[in-house]
Amino acid sequence: MTDHITVYTARMVRTMEPALPTASAVAVRGDKIIEVGSLETIKPWLDAHPHTIDNRFADKIIMPGFIDPHLHPSMAALLLPMHFTTALEWHLPWQDVPAIRGNNEFLARLKEIDDDMEDPDEPLFAWGHHPIWHGEVYRQTLNGISATRPIIVWHRGFHTLVVNDAAIAWMGMDEADGERHPQVNMEEGRFFETGLSLAFRYFNHYTLAPKWFEGGLERLRQVVHFGGHTTIGDMAAGMFDLEMEWGALVKVLEQEDTPFRVQMIPPGTPMGGGDKDPAKLLERTIGLRERNTHRLRFYDHVKLFADGGFYAGLMQLGPPGAIDGSVGEWMTPPETFEHVARTYWNAGFKIHVHCTGDLGVELALDTLEKLQWERPRFNHRFTIEHFGVSTPEQVRRMADLGALASVNIYYVHELGDAYWKNKLGHERASQMSRLGTLARHNVTTALHTDFTMAPALPLNSAWVAATRISEAGHVMGPEERLTLDQALRAITIDAAYILGLENEIGSIRGGKTADFTILEQDPYEVGAENLREIPIWGTVFEGRPFPIKHRTKKDK
């Protein structure tokens, strides 16, 4: 059967190759594309080899398999077993989470979840609370939901937890420890910032246990397929505990019916610091490749960190700083950053740098410029990740230095209004994730979700990129929009380039891997405004079709 060819016909094949942008048929042999074109143009292959014409996609659109180069399976594994109670809607394979707005509505939803749970002792973890939309909740409020079931409500931005009496009893923590902690308020049942570590001390046995973590990874597997991905990047592989995570990833994801691959990009240094000796860093990072499987692959990409988290408001801002005067954090001291970057640069690695504020971008670019001076490299793929706040001049400098961008565009949708009003003001908030400027300077740009920071739905990301519509309905910085075509490139061929896989995936042409995303509507026909509404039939991964099992209306 190895020389047997399957020809998928389609209403339209959108190849994302400018040399042949549209086609009506694509021939696949094994896991590879043989030729794309029409039944007429590919006829010589069919005359020469046994083949089947498969018309199952005859009324559908074939696109290259979608790629999210930056998300976090382990973070998702921790979060996905929780109940989503968010102010913005989420579409998950097992549930459409409606937008919850208002304090009463939030509490009513918790009560509903409590009523639906079968085991009366099972802890209820709810993620997504945000005081702007849901008002405050306290220990007493949660006691009103249940006096017996442990309830843990986690903030959308991850920095605060609120628990009820039953949760404190279940945790088995001494109330006195909480009472003396400056970032725990026992009366309100609230743990924040460093107080969270105290709470997780009592949760870890539960949320990092195989039952929870592997269950969460199984859900992640469904989420990735549901979004139409065929490739994702784990952009800080081993963020909690490499060996535990790797074991679970292999067990859950390295399965015949997993329709995607995961490019593993490890942190350049252990997350909490650790040995900075260049030889040891390289030995450890390179050594990770020995464990690769078919779908899970470490390679010559590495992740470094500049400034703090964007949702947590810890980005490093240049002048004029934040409205409230708050200051950000560095995740790596600038001198250490340079030292570690030099180690990987000189060893030929492709370096991805987490940068959320313009000062973070500045550190990355200053370092890149210095490294270019010391040891010039071409095609180095130094990539700025996230790109929350930046300046137009930095984009020009990125172009000069050959840097690339992988952008979280959802910041504009979810945080655009909040950061306009509370942190950055309108000028900078409306220009967060400045995709238009990147496009004008021909900086190759991917879109990512940093899932669970944003929904892992590439068409949703492309919709925000091409419209810049905020959750409140404002168009934020129209000059920074991408065109529809640019937005779709950013979830296919340009995302492949960011991951260094553009010769294998990201577009449909003869010789590439047969990874497709099958759509019910043509994005170029429905237009930017309707991108996120396009139904996805499923995917083809390495030549094998994987339909998405859509829920019936009754499912919860």
Binding site: M173, D174, D177, G178, R180, H181, P182, Q183, V184, E193, T194, G195, S197, L198, F200, R201, F240, D241, P270, M271, G272, G273, G274, D275, K276, D277, K280, Q316, G318, V327, G328, E329, W330, M331, T332, P333, P334, E335, T336, L359, E362, L363
Partner: protein, 304 residues
């Protein structure tokens, strides 16, 4: 409760030198020192009793561990050791806000906060405080200190030293100049750095040319409000104070007074339980800058 001391400061301030000195030092205390990077620890091999992955055990009873991925996990590991250490030292990363790490000492089971010592690179601090990347980080570190150790003073002329000292004092408004402790190679007595060790270990503090200790005892009960008011008025040359206090409003149990630089606390301690209640305090300060008679009179006036 095991006291936790945080040692902070930007890269190059001398944290590692200080930690090496603490680990190998002759202070009679079993310290557990948590560090970010093992590679920089440089201990005489003859002192190393065992090296097990991320833990280094020394023949003097001290241990050194890497923080690895999570400080909480590292603390729990130390708290599971047998025997327990007398004191835990956490080395904050060069960009950490040490005041945040101090919160682990204020709520982690089994720990209590001793204090936050921030090292300052006397030669470079002014440049760092104006650096485009780390100016805010430096300001947070200075503001979070209970004691500021102005290090590398051996590299400065007297004029430069005075200049940076007054600059530092002005920069950190709540810290007056005498809580800025000048040092080179982190060389200050352990009693200043770590406290007198244990509750009211009278007579156990060493004198070190530039520092002196003052002991105070009385069997008269002290008035809580007056005591706190007196302490608030103490000269800033008092760097540390620790001991038991016999309070009039709660005569059945001892209270523990702990003062580290700019911060002090009075917390409920054990019941006297048959012992004759007695206030027993040790104050440590810059020699010649603290007046033993003044401090004793101040404390006696709280008995009024």
């Amino acid at each position: 409760m095991i006291p936790l001391t945080v040692i902070g400061g930007y890269l190059g301030a001398g944290k590692t030198t200080l930690i090496n000195a603490l680990l190998a030092g002759d202070h009679g205390r079993r310290l557990a020192v948590l560090v970010n990077d093992f590679g920089a620890i440089n201990i005489d091999a003859r002192l190393i009793a065992a090296h097990d992955g991320d833990t280094l055990s020394l023949s003097n009873g001290c241990v050194c561990c890497t923080i690895a991925d999570a400080l909480g996990d590292a603390l729990d590991k130390v708290l599971a050791m047998d025997p327990l250490p007398d004191q835990i030292i956490v080395e904050a990363s060069g960009v950490a806000n040490p005041a945040k790490i101090a919160m682990y000492g204020q709520g982690w089971p089994g720990l209590e906060l001793d204090g936050v010592v921030v090292l300052v690179d006397g030669e470079n601090i002014r440049a760092l405080a104006a650096d485009k990347f780390v100016a805010n980080t430096i300001q947070l570190q200075l503001a979070g200190a209970d004691l500021l150790l102005l290090n590398k003073t051996d590299l400065l002329t007297n004029d430069e030293r005075d200049g940076v000292t007054s600059w530092l004092a002005a920069r950190v408004a709540q810290v007056a100049d005498s809580r800025i402790i000048p040092a080179s190679f982190g060389d200050i007595p352990f009693s200043v750095l770590l406290g007198s060790g244990g509750v009211a270990k009278l007579g156990g503090t060493e004198d070190h040319g530039a520092y002196q200790s003052v002991e105070f005892r009385t069997r008269k009960a002290l008035d809580r409000a007056q005591l706190l008011q007196q302490i608030a008025n103490w000269p800033r040359a008092v760097l540390r104070a620790k001991g038991l206090v016999y309070l009039r409003d709660d005569p059945r149990r001892a209270y523990v007074l702990q003062l580290v630089g700019s911060r002090h606390e009075l917390t409920a301690g054990p019941a006297w339980d048959g012992e004759v209640p007695e206030t027993q305090l040790v104050m440590i300060g810059a020699a010649g800058r603290i007046n033993p008679d003044y401090l004793k009179t101040s404390l006696l006036s709280a008995c009024g």
